[in-house]
């Protein structure tokens, strides 16, 4: 019997802590796409908070750790546009070309894929079609502009026959998460989130799906604070049919 290829899941620290369901949903989707899922032990943060706050030295050492951790795997899948972009776009920029890690960073960049890109490329078809729902999709900025992720999540969602995909008025506008930005400039971030939830509500969708846990926590928290009856989820949770949560929401 032929063994399935192995794919490493880099779950991201935010999903790890705040949204474990995204990890399980991702794992089940990667498996359904024909891979064996490995969650490399010892994984933590890709270093993005330090990198974007100007702490380049720590970012470099966090990158080195992640690069070495993921080196043995042929496929690396990340359920986040921004963490995937950190690895694919920014890791190679952290090292001098003479540094041995530069080549390793490039190799990792080459084999790392954001989840929806990975699923789309490997011809994944959802088997557990979600019940008839109207879903709005929110593009995360990093995924959209640094990795060009636009059609992949939409194509995956559209394969569910009962799912109606709705577009936001301004899909290219940031939701206001922005990593540490949201706690450093909460007023501005809050207004950006408010604009986004208004756009989401205007679509009439019952669910808003997206590819990043950062945007997800931001939008979900704002929807809840505003008392809007719209559920926010990671696109992986929706595709894997894992929307039911213990709190019954």
């Amino acid at each position: 019997m032929q063994t399935k290829p192995e794919a490493a899941l880099f779950v991201t620290c935010l999903a790890d802590l705040m949204r474990p369901e995204v990890g399980f949903a991702s794992a089940s989707l990667i498996e359904a796409a024909g891979f064996d899922v490995v969650v490399p032990r010892g994984q933590s943060c890709c270093g993005q908070p330090n990198y974007n706050s100007g702490d380049r030295r720590a970012a470099r050492s966090m990158a080195r750790r992640t690069i070495e951790l993921l080196e043995p795997y042929e496929y690396v899948v990340v359920p986040s546009g921004s963490c995937a972009a950190m690895i694919k776009v920014h890791y190679p920029l952290l090292f001098d070309e003479a540094d041995a890690l530069f080549g390793k960073a490039q190799a990792l960049a080459g084999k790392t894929e954001e989840l929806t890109v990975f699923l789309e490329r490997h011809g994944y078809t959802p088997d557990a079609a979600p019940a008839a729902v109207r879903v709005a999709y929110h593009d995360s900025c990093s995924g959209l502009r640094e990795l060009g992720i636009r059609h992949q999540p939409r194509a995956l969602l559209k394969r569910s026959p009962s799912l109606e995909l709705l577009e936001l008025a301004e899909p290219e506008v940031c939701c206001g998460f922005g990593g540490t930005f949201c706690v450093k400039y909460p007023d501005i971030s809050g207004r950006m989130a408010e604009n986004k939830t208004a756009d989401i509500a205007a679509t009439g969708a019952g669910i808003v799906a997206m590819g990043d846990v950062g945007c997800l926590l931001n939008i979900e928290g704002k929807l809840r604070r505003e008392g809007r009856d719209i559920r926010a989820c990671h696109v992986a949770e929706l595709l894997a049919g894992m929307l039911e949560r213990p709190d019954g929401r």
Partner: protein, 473 residues
Amino acid sequence: MEVESGAFVEKARAALDDATLQHALKHIKHGFVEARANAAARLPDFEAMRDRARDVKAHTIAHLADYLEQFEANVTARGGKVHWARDAREARAIIHGICRAAGARTVTKSKSMVTEEIELNPYLEEHSIEPIETDLGEYIIQLRGEKPSHIIAPVIHLSKDQVADTFHEHHGRHGFHTRLTERSGMVREARSILRQRFVKADVGITGANFLVAETGSAVVVTNEGNADLTASLPDTHIVVTGIEKLVPTLDDCHLMLRLLPRSATGQDITAYVSFFTGPKRTDDLSGPSSFHVVLLDNGRSDMMGTEFEEMLRCIRCGACLNHCPVYSNIGGHAYGSVYPGPMGAVLTPSLAGIDKAGHLPNASSFCGRCEAVCPVRIPLPKLMRHWREREFERHLSPSGTRWGLRAWSMIAASPRLYRSMQWTASRFLRLIASNGWIRRLPLAGAGWTGERDMHAPAGNSFQHQWRKRGGRR
């Protein structure tokens, strides 16, 4: 250059609460963002033109000294004079000297952010020379004693009603006593006042959108035609601009002229594009008899050879401001700098020092839309990140942030520490949640829960649960 970015947070808060400002800022979406998208869509070549423009500007900056010399030689050959100003003080002194020699009492002005940068108006006033702004927007803020809030639309922060009040308050002394509220009537009134000023001015000062090395021309784009009147009616024309405005040839300039209005206002071309090349020639019917170009450095050459050199490609179209989710929610005044928004977040610390502009490169969610629309493809988020790195290296970032980042990198480096941290955080969040939701978090988390709720994690960390379930690791 005066920078007041210290109160950024407070000013931003006030801006978010200012209903009139918020209403005015809504125009950005339709007036600029959609207009640019339509203009770009009409021109199939647009993306390739951006690549070429980036290359032209990068080439010019790499050979700036040569092109500046060529430009000066061509200005001189046509009877004009080039003046070199190392900083704002020198620039002001040069301009004052020229005005004094011309016996100037009044000076008309058009299209110059650089004169805002060097704070020319208060200086001229101190020396008993009256500066008169002639772009409608600049004219309005001069009457109001304000600063521009946008590099191409200085009064984007004002409502028509506020402008009506301003005109009503100031135009009485010119014999206009009715408060006009209809756009064309207001413009007609301002125009009739400005016409008198144009005729009487002793010196005209303009900026330049581009300088052309091969001809020695200063190029100005306007929609009101006032730059032509500013430059042609008085006997002396002074062009004041930065050394980075240079392009080698007229062909290069043409490329820039196709990109600038499309990026800025979504226009295929502005109503006026003027090339000023030397003073009036013998057979010219009109024009100034003396033509000066004041080239300002003011920190620009220090950017060359650094990671900020790419910023010198900027053609001041304002597209990054219009597409910035921070700028479009708070307007320009909160930044406390002549140059607001993403381009200002990179340029202001370069010109005034990072110690004076600390918030500016930080107040960005790094959404990257500025870079996506920049006609000369300046990687603005990358350059802002470089400023954050300089701040971090110089210990200018808040100590709480530094401590947090340091702690986080140590935790992330140790699987055991990371595991116990995730476990503790997860337990803590579930403990303070009610019905799975958290309404108030302590410390840095207060910034989060001030604006939104937080969903508590459903259980222990993913890695913890994965291990318990016997998943492959």
